[in-house]
Amino acid sequence: MHRFRNYHPITKLAFFAVIFAISMFTENPAVRGMSLVGAVTALAAGGTPLKRLLKYIGGGIVSVLLIGVMNCFIAHDGKTILFDLLRRHITLEAFYYGLSAGVMIVGVAMWCVFITDETDTEDLVMTLGKVLPFVSVVITVTLRYIPEIIKKFRETLSAQKMLGIFESKGYFKRALIISKVFMSVTERSVENAMDMASTMKARGYGLVRRASARHKKWRESDTDLLLVTAFCAAFIAVGEKTGDFGFAYYPSPAFVKFGLYAIPMIVACALLFLLPAGQVIDWRIRWQKSFESKA
């Protein structure tokens, strides 16, 4: 086993596609909860600094509660009426449904953070480079210029602050200056983009169909992970189809059915969601051991 980021981009693409599909299209709160726990443990095992992780968790809890409360004003089904507002029932079940949806959204967001940590643009370019070379160039060029534009914006704003231009009070005046900073940075960026277009042309862009220098070997571990992913996905799909692990929020939250496929489905979900964290922990242990053996 090795660290998750070392997998082939296509393997990672397939794995995360399944993770997202399960997290987003399964309504069972247990599955959604497992997805969230899996994402958090993956981030923790992946070496996310504790302060950052706590910030994510804190933000996540607030978001879940907020979505829960907001859903009460959107959905009015459910038998436990908390109170009435504008002749509409505010129900406990709607709050639960909102919480569950919040857990799903925060879970998916955390997986996105993990993906960002475990993949880079090279993965994207490698996946697209051979199929859509134009798109891969657009992505890499964009990724090159976004940090530059942000840097220019901060630099220009800071220069204006130093000149004391923000001393004048009033939101409108401040907004006017910020919009001028934005316009000037955009103009400079367009100028740079034109220079870059000339450079690209001078360096042969558009001459012939582009080749791709990126190459990553397909390893046995890629096949293994794809098989595990496919196996688990199949179990979960069958479980969903039969409704053996079905859950309903209205009129009151309860399992609709706890059938034959429920246990295998839970095991498959747990395996998939905890796999990235497990991989990273295993990689760390092996890494540590390699140092100990040398000592």
Partner: protein
């Protein structure tokens, strides 16, 4: 025997230009020759380099011929000319296209359809040759200016060019990085027999490295004597320290720094570690030091942008700062519009603003053409003077400059040094950080070197 490169009666005028930048230029270059292309700002050095290859030629009217190995460049297929002639621009920011070092090295080869296996081999070889293996996986935005310029050069070499054209490649480099970069160019010329033409305005420092020095003047190219060759980049600080003995200014300090300490991370090391500094009113103070020693950090502490963990900073009067990129000082299209907007924000009426602009333009020799040109069309020296005008209009008593000579030619540097001296006479204190020792000697009356977190 045919020359590697022959330029015959080459004339060139930009699409929107009113005059010929090149006017019947002739130049013969032998295979494997290394030529320094000299000339002042706007003399046409960069244009000459760009019009050699149709791939880099900007829009304009051209007459005359450019021959490579006896063949007119216009009859050479584009893919072939791109492989034969590589051009490295002055500013690596405009040269580098993609976001990672690996992608940048691969870019030209991918465009010309070289197989993936061959590109990977070339990247491995190039990275070893240039000593940049550790940078391969890095993002371009994480690299220093010197590293970016080396990556640009490495990317240019990936196509194994026969002719390498470098447009003022050391402009954005400190003296040590510039020497290292030119050492690499020497190696390429020596090891592969690549013909090299370098446009450069620092002739006295680098001419000794070249086989021949030619000058672009009035649109023509002429050979010039190189009896001044052999001058080395002045990387020693002895002369700088001697400045402090000359400074007899006894007035009260306008900048006072006591026991200043700053670190970026709680568990990291102090970048500034007990800095003490007194700068008298009306002085021009230069702060020198190696790359990453904390010079810019020190300036950012003075401006209040960074909060030091320890120490005291006292500044007598209003402080304004110019960043490494003076363009960031402007948010309007032209200098005049920008200064007018700025003054009106500060409470001046339209008439008062115009009067102040007239006064400052006269003082800093900003012509109407400079005031009314788009800021992106101004030269480096003109932008700097316009930025200084804005600092003065902001009522600055103390002006901070971060690497003010970056991208300036010798004439512009001289004018900037004179301007700082003039402002000094009017009681305005200038503090600048730089690598440029010659500029320091011309402009400053006191100086310090930041080393080990303290100013010596």
């Amino acid at each position: 025997m045919a020359k590697k490169l022959r330029i015959e009666g080459l004339s060139y005028r930009y699409a929107l230009g009113g005059r010929n930048v090149l006017d019947g230029a002739d130049l013969d270059v032998e295979a494997g020759e290394k030529i320094l292309l000299a000339g002042g700002s706007g003399s046409g050095k960069s244009t000459l380099l760009k019009v050699i290859s149709p791939a880099t030629m900007p829009r304009g009217t051209v007459s005359g011929r450019v021959l490579i190995d006896g063949t007119d460049v216009n009859s050479i297929p584009r893919a072939e000319i791109i492989s034969k002639v590589s051009y490295v621009a002055q500013n690596p920011e405009t040269q580098i296209v993609v976001d990672t070092v690996y992608g940048e090295l691969a870019f030209s080869c991918e465009n010309t359809g070289i197989s993936g296996v061959e590109i990977r081999r070339r990247i491995a070889w190039t990275a070893t040759y240039f000593g940049i293996e550790s940078l391969l996986k890095r993002r371009i935005s994480e690299l220093s200016g010197g590293q970016k310029q080396i990556v640009s050069l490495a990317a240019a070499i990936m196509l194994k060019p026969e002719i390498l054209l470098l447009d003022e490649p050391t402009t954005y480099l400190d003296p040590v990085a510039a020497v290292r970069f030119l050492d690499l160019v020497d190696s390429i010329n020596r090891d592969f027999g690549t013909t090299v033409i370098v446009a450069e305005h620092r002739i006295s420092e680098f001419a000794g490295r070249f086989d021949r020095v030619v000058k672009v003047e009035n649109g023509k190219v002429t050979d010039i004597e190189t009896d001044f060759c052999g001058g080395a980049t002045d990387v020693f600080y002895d002369k700088v320290f001697s400045l402090n003995g000359k400074n007899k200014n006894e007035s009260a300090p306008t900048v006072m720094v006591r026991n200043l300490a700053f670190r970026y991370d709680r568990n990291g090391q102090n970048v500034l570690d007990g800095v003490d500094l007194l700068i008298p009113k009306g002085s021009v103070f230069a702060l020198l030091g190696g790359n990453g020693c904390g010079k810019t950090t020190f300036l950012r502490c003075l401006t209040g942008e960074l909060k030091p963990q320890q120490g005291k900073i006292k500044i007598d009067g209003k402080l304004s700062a110019m960043t490494q990129n003076p363009l960031s000082m402007f948010i309007e299209e032209t200098v005049r519009k920008d200064l007018r907007f700025f003054l009106k924000r500060k409470g001046a009426t339209g008439k008062e603003a115009d009067e102040k602009i007239r006064e400052i333009a006269k003082k800093l020799e900003l012509t109407d053409s400079v005031l009314d040109s788009h800021v992106l069309d101004l030269s480096g020296g003109e932008v700097e003077r316009a930025a200084i005008a804005k600092l003065i209009l902001a009522g600055a008593d103390v002006m901070l400059f971060d690497e003010p000579t970056k991208g300036l030619d010798d004439t512009a540097k001289k004018r900037l040094a004179e301007l700082m001296r003039t402002l000094s006479g009017e009681g305005i204190t200038s503090v600048f950080v730089t690598h440029d020792i010659n500029f320091t000697l011309a402009a400053a009356d006191c100086a310090g070197v930041l080393s080990g977190g303290t100013i010596l």
